[in-house]
Symmetry: C2
Subunit: 476 residues, 2 copies
């Protein structure tokens, strides 16, 4: 297809300047814009509609696994942050602080939540009395704030939207089970809704959440071979329970501390979609979360019957619950093709007088950028099947790319070579922080997850006995 | 029904101590709790589920009227607030200010949004180019913060959740039409979903939104005869367009300022539901937004077949989309009755061995606190019909109470007598601020709305010619 369009011309080349391609795409497709305060973003309707679809899918999964939504205050007393030692160390440098309100200085500075373990822990402590109250399983959809130096829309901004689940359990086993359960919910959601294959696993201590016993993450490979941590599930042990006195009277009459978990995903997932599936023409959106699933472009729209047929087709698809737009603007078909391709709409139907006469239309699929005839009879089921096929093809294609780009390294030099060739690199690791730091320093790759069920002979860095196999990659 | 229950015993008397009744009910039914920072609230799952139902209903109405959701930043540069003179005067005393972030002092203090006209105006100015871009019709679901001295859960808290719609139009007529359209959306929603009859009308200049040309509100009468402003729709003229340079190139080649509107409702609506419908036993929730619409209480649940039948009934109702709970706890039926009545569940089904044998159950309706037999055959449609009847009966009952309690006053003394007897009071008003202030001072009643299409001879305060008829009431 000719690339004679102003939009496509204006997108940087995806292979040679991926960062600029990303910026061009998110701005030009009106997913997002920069807010007036440095490091903030405005999520525009096209971007927010993706977030709404993400929310709908995830929220149903949270409720199906027995969680209830609630809402906790934005502002947290600074003293709460300091109750869990690792937690404050991790988050204090990034918090935004409210010192004045209602025309006067506050008795205690308040911080805008960077995450809510502390304030939720405080409330759970108040609510939890007996083992009968357990488990407590809540989730909140909220904005959070982490003051970052380097920002990029969706990937890292001072404020972002997310969900954070927080649970309390009577035993360690139950809390670990919850941690793993939510990790698997994230994985299933990422794969089936976002068409993003993810690698799951435990983080090293260096990379874990500040205050957690263990952090598990879903990691996805982006177009440029970098990894994006796309969601995390934390087993918090009794760390927060002890810091916030989350105790219950057990069956045996003893007061005991609960075991807690927390888990979250954010608007960062929109960045993951863009950077996993995007191509030279712009966005490629998975049908399940695409704001518009099908766009209809009339050809020779002034010819009798064309617009009427397009409107009928639109009605049929809309009635079947398909998110469909009919582009009736004055722009040329070619201009429309390019615009909707840049916006990543999964399926385009082109209807001209000859197509209508022949009882068909042309169906373009965005993932493969190919066209095929589609009969108007039985169109709804054909479109439904095509959307399904686009969704699964996108997942398989991304899965294949990820699998093809996992290599094994026996030395730091090989590891460097691997990540420079845009791979994820598996390597043995002795388990010590010094080796992890050295690898980061020499290759700019960080440990992403510890691989379960695999062993290696020696540590890639020090050559001593390997305790674990780790995936290293450069990361966002 | 015997009131021999710990819960009911613990609720203050609704007639003699309404404020304490309110506090008791919101806390004991676990709708809400106090947050650790003074003036903040935690919305617990039972309260948040009401908010989710409100959101679902409203969001569908906003989309059906052509609005798109978006998300704008929480933090607004202080300099934005001062660009619209009336706006800053109204909101500056209530803002919370962020002075430090990321470990250092900020170059400019940022305020936490008390409302978003300023930051959205700033973005609209950037996005709006041509008349082809108009109208712009966006909505956001967000948290906002207004530092209040006296707070009460849902009614007035430093942070609350709301939606705020913000639109730009090419002409004054279109903007006014939008303002009135959204007022009518709020009215229809309040009446059909919350069963709350509302009085709509324009606010006096004293009571209007800071920066608006005209504010319209939906006002509802609470159990104690006080008014609750439950939603507002503002026509902003070109005030914000000029302050934020929201201009477009019109068809005639001229650059022109747009006309803007804004409109919002908040978690305050949950307070409106509680105080409109609640009774001596606690909450009475309208079926459309009740988290649980039907509770099933087994009687003699250890008798063979009872629990099984209850579970079957639950399955049937759930399949039909009814939000149903089967109470299988060990508590006595009487305890369960009282608990679920306090929680305001619209319909309770009681099933014991004799009922089952007779092919029926007992259906209790919370609005009237009456019971009647209901055949198990065709139960789903019977329950659906009953829920519908509860919903409409709640609206009619509240409407009658409101209508019966609107009286007319010819003097400030009559006005005082009227509001003390828990009425809304209609009175002539000359239109001057001095009279409005005097009435407030002597009766503690404020003007709620200007009544359309009615005239009066003289002003209730000064006796001069009346310009308008106004409804006065004490208000939350």
């Amino acid at each position: 297809m000719a690339k004679d369009n102003q939009f496509v011309e204006n997108i940087a080349d995806i292979e040679t300047d991926f960062p600029q391609w990303y910026t061009d795409v998110v701005i030009k497709t009106k997913l997002v814009d920069y807010g007036p305060v440095k490091g903030t973003m405005v999520i525009r309707p096209y971007g927010y509609a993706i977030w709404e679809n993400i929310q709908k899918e995830l929220d149903a999964r949270f409720k199906a696994t027995g969680h209830e939504n609630a809402y906790f205050p934005l502002l947290i007393p600074m003293s709460f942050m300091t109750k869990e030692a690792e937690h404050v160390e991790g988050f204090a440098p990034e918090v935004a602080v409210v010192t004045h309100a209602g025309g006067g200085e506050l008795p205690e500075p308040l911080c805008i939540r960077p995450t809510s373990e502390t304030i939720i822990g405080n409330m759970y402590s108040k609510w939890l009395q007996s083992y009968r109250d357990l488990p407590i399983k809540m989730n909140q959809w909220a904005n959070v704030m982490r003051w970052e130096k380097t920002t990029r829309p969706f990937l890292r901004t001072s404020e972002f939207l997310w969900q954070e689940g927080h649970t309390v359990h009577a035993t360690e086993e139950e809390a670990i089970e919850e941690t793993m359960k939510m990790l698997s919910v994230y994985q299933e959601f990422a794969e089936n809704c976002l068409a993003i294959p993810v690698i799951t696993g435990r983080k090293t201590d260096k990379e874990k959440f500040a205050g957690a016993v263990a952090t598990y993450s879903i990691e996805a490979m982006m177009h440029d071979g970098k990894s994006l941590q796309s969601g995390t599930s934390h087993y918090l042990g009794q760390n927060f329970a002890k810091a916030f006195d989350i105790q219950f009277l057990d069956k045996d009459g003893e007061h005991k501390y609960g075991y807690t978990t927390s888990w979250g995903v954010s608007t960062r997932l929109i960045g993951a979609i863009i950077m996993t599936h995007g191509d030279a023409r712009g966005l490629v959106l998975p049908p399940v979360v695409a704001p518009t699933q099908v766009v209809i472009v009339p050809i020779a729209s002034k010819k009798p019957g064309v617009l009427e047929t397009c409107r009928e087709v639109k009605e049929q698809l809309a009635k079947a619950g398909i998110r469909v737009v009919l582009d009736e603007t004055d722009n040329s078909p070619g201009w429309k093709f390019n615009e909707w391709e840049m916006k990543g709409v999964p399926v385009r139907l082109e209807l001209g007088p000859r197509d209508i006469e022949a009882g068909k239309c042309l169906a373009f699929r965005r993932d493969e950028c190919t066209k095929a005839d589609m009969p108007l009879e039985g169109l709804v089921s054909s479109v439904e099947a095509l959307l399904k096929d686009v969704q699964s093809n996108m997942l398989e294609r991304a899965r294949k790319r990820t699998q093809d780009r996992i290599v094994y390294a026996n030395s730091v030099e090989e590891l460097l070579d691997g990540v420079e060739k845009q791979n994820f690199v598996k390597a043995g690791w002795c388990g010590c922080r010094a080796c992890e730091d050295r690898i980061k320093e020499e290759t700019a790759a960080s440990s992403r997850v510890i691989v379960e069920g695999e062993t290696a002979e020696t540590c890639v860095a020090c050559g001593k006995k390997a305790e674990k196999v780790v995936i290293f990659a450069r990361a966002y």
